[in-house]
Symmetry: C2
Subunit: 454 residues, 2 copies
């Protein structure tokens, strides 16, 4: 059995902590067993390890999340990287073709697909294992996991079973699906034994490979990757699941929660406060503060106060799901990003008539480096503020440490490698400052060094 975790898109429902570069699954707000805080992705990965499933798991994600996943999971996970953001049908198909081509996976082997961020008990993953046996014993195309509902939610999708279980107990054939019903309808569904659809399902690899063949798509990974741009933006549910004739559902009775909004997320936080600040006379209020400046909350109950370099949210908890629609008009530069080499934070940004100025603090981990590159429309000044490193400027090597200043003019080729953890302040000045104004000469440090010495 193989597992495919889907690591999805940005989502603004947890603004200002989630942004285009940091989806909700990467926010470190959950208590971990040992010490410190962990993200939803880290929590799930640890649960997979506990259940001996991590070695048979791949994560399907997009380019923009590669660095943060590798960082948070310490390079332990195998990634399948979508070249463009599509929907779940293309993403799962790419993962299937990868397993078919390179994954040492037989066509008869069962593939289970999971979101990367369910908030569940460890027993959930035992139930995932059961999907395999259920597929083999029932000889059905697709097996779903159904969560036993605890209240008539209007936000979830429901799986409606047929009345009779299969001969081996507690597995039902699926009769139909119902998305986001009214409360009354949800109660009716629950009375008739319906389950919440938690987005977990399994099938034999051959089932999807044959489906792709029938539809005329390539099944070899390299070919599918090449044609990826032509795949339809469509969900797996819509393209495959809803048309399948032969589906079963396994009930899961344990804890399950979608931590997609501030009110559900804060329910799972152990402490009412993360970061610098004071909470006084405020019942059931949560503070998450990623800035250095203190936050004082006085006499405001049932609220979430979330502070990040991107913005500040002060919201009543019950109303917090509406944040998505309100901030959808914000389209700002991410103010904090984790990268494979470390992270950066935007300290200041200003647009003048004829130019823009962006000031950042960067942290490069020891041994990490930035690629050898130059810019066509901005100058940069680096002031090293801590640590030691090596700068390459127009093919010359310069040893740097705290206090040193490097001025990078238009077209100057430059790179930096950290010897110890290294921090610097970068001031970018240019007519237009865009991420794309990077001409990369080389990203491999040994090759960069060879370039210079030859």
């Amino acid at each position: 059995m193989k597992l495919v975790l889907l690591s999805g898109g940005s989502g603004k429902r947890l603004w200002p902590l989630s942004n285009d570069a940091r989806s909700k699954q990467f926010l470190k707000v959950l208590e971990s067993d040992n010490k410190g805080l962990q993200s939803m992705v880290q929590r799930v990965w640890n649960q997979l390890k506990e259940n001996n499933l991590s070695n048979s798991t791949v994560i399907a994600t997009s380019k923009s999340q590669v660095e943060i996943i590798q960082d948070q999971l310490k390079n332990e996970a195998s990634l399948i990287i979508e070249p463009f953001r599509r929907d779940t049908f293309p993403a799962i198909s790419l993962a299937a073709s990868y397993l078919y081509t390179f994954g040492n996976t037989k066509l008869d082997e069962v593939i289970a697909v999971l979101p990367v961020d369910p908030y569940v008990d460890s027993s959930f993953f035992n139930k995932v294992k059961d999907l395999e046996e259920a597929i083999y014993r029932s000889d059905t195309d697709i097996a779903l996991m159904g969560v036993r509902p605890t209240f008539p939610s209007e936000k979830y999708g429901y799986i409606v079973p047929k009345k009779d279980t299969l001969d081996f107990s507690k597995i039902y054939k699926v009769k139909s699906f119902k998305e986001k019903p009214t409360k009354e309808c949800a109660q009716d569904l629950i009375n008739n034994g319906a389950f919440w659809n938690c987005g977990v399902f399994a099938f034999r690899l051959g089932y999807l490979i044959n489906f792709l063949k029938r539809e005329g798509y390539p099944i070899k990974y390299d070919d599918l990757l090449k044609d990826y741009v032509d795949l339809p933006k469509i969900s797996f549910d819509y393209k495959v699941l809803e048309k399948a004739k032969n589906i079963i559902v396994l009930p899961y009775d344990g804890y399950w929660k979608d931590l997609g909004t501030w009110n559900t997320l804060t329910e799972e936080m152990q402490s009412n406060q993360i970061g610098n600040g004071i909470l006084k006379d405020s019942e059931n209020t949560h503070l998450i503060n990623e800035l250095d400046i203190p936050v004082t909350i006085l006499g405001v109950s049932n609220a979430i106060v979330a502070v990040s370099p991107d913005g500040i949210l002060v919201s009543d908890k019950d109303k917090s799901p509406r944040i998505k629609e309100i901030v959808s008009e914000f389209d700002t530069r991410p103010m904090y990003e984790e990268r494979l080499w470390g992270w950066y934070r935007v300290l200041d940004y200003k647009k003048y008539d004829s130019k823009e100025v962006l000031t950042k603090r960067l942290m490069l981990r020891a041994e990490a480096h930035l690629s050898y590159q130059y810019h066509l429309s901005r100058t940069e000044t680096w002031t090293i503020i801590s640590g030691k490193g090596i700068v390459i400027l127009n093919d010359k090597i310069i040893n740097v440490e705290a206090g040193d200043v490097i001025k990078i003019s238009l077209g100057d080729k430059h790179a930096i490698k950290a010897i110890t953890n290294l921090e610097l302040i970068e001031v970018q000045v240019g007519i237009e400052i865009i991420e794309e104004d990077i001409v990369r000469i080389n990203d491999n440090w040994s090759e960069i060094m060879e370039l210079i010495y030859n």
Copy 2:
């Protein structure tokens, strides 16, 4: 008649907008008649001008407020500067000795003392003028202004009049004072005709000069200034007023308010929002945001959300007066300061094991300059991000514009003068970064230029 405005200390009741460098009277949150926002000081100064009183007014203040007052009042006010922060008795005595020594003020002339920030109608200042005539006609030592109370406040001081008015109507002899009574007691006081003490009083210059003489203090300005450190930290109320035998009170029936806390201040704001952000479903909530990042408030009513480089406050309005006690333990570097040459904002501060790093954005107004100086324990990097200017570095003149970088090593003599409005990013790196680590060579630009050319 002369007026002395007392511009008092820091006060944390309007945290995070007020700090050691910016007391509440300098916050620009009040609507002005023409356009934009004005501070309490600016509002009072404009009212003094309307009443032709500004030319006979001096402002008694401390060193730390000189630059912000000169900036906000466009150098129109005469300042009397306390060398150290003392209490109101020393401050008023220094002002009196100044008027006695240099102010072309006769001993018989009346001096009226006012706080710098009462929120009042313009008619208030007519009543201030009436204090003069009241002193002369009643031949009393001290005349107070009494505000007709509108509710039994427990926060204010009360002036209790004797029953009979003086022969010219509406002036009362004072019987006693009562500070911060209980609500019941306050109601009794009001029923007996008591007034709120708004801190406005008047006396003949000779009265205080004679008082100083009797107590053995110098009366010449230079002498008093020299002995200032030895003056007792005591209020004028306690040292003089409460011991005076012969005091009258003039009732003022107009609008008066002490904008000392967030709940009273926001009542006088014309708009519910200053700065970047969105207010939704939030009744009677005010937002003041001095940062560039957006603030979203959703479904939180009767609250004040105040955001500055120093911190973030989210408080129920009724509870907001308690902020003073809560933040009294905060003792942080001011993150924003207005100076005579412009302003600076702290973008980033970090303390490492063996050093500190402070990153600022500075704005120098056209023609303004920093003094010629050097530092003994920090290096600085300036990246000019907008405008044009002249840098002097170790006696050499360098023309600079956006994109230029100046590296200032330990002991390097440096100054900068703005030709146009000029902004720069300054990165300070040092073992210990303190304001006092400035060795000033000269602050006068012509003299600096002479120094260099000779």
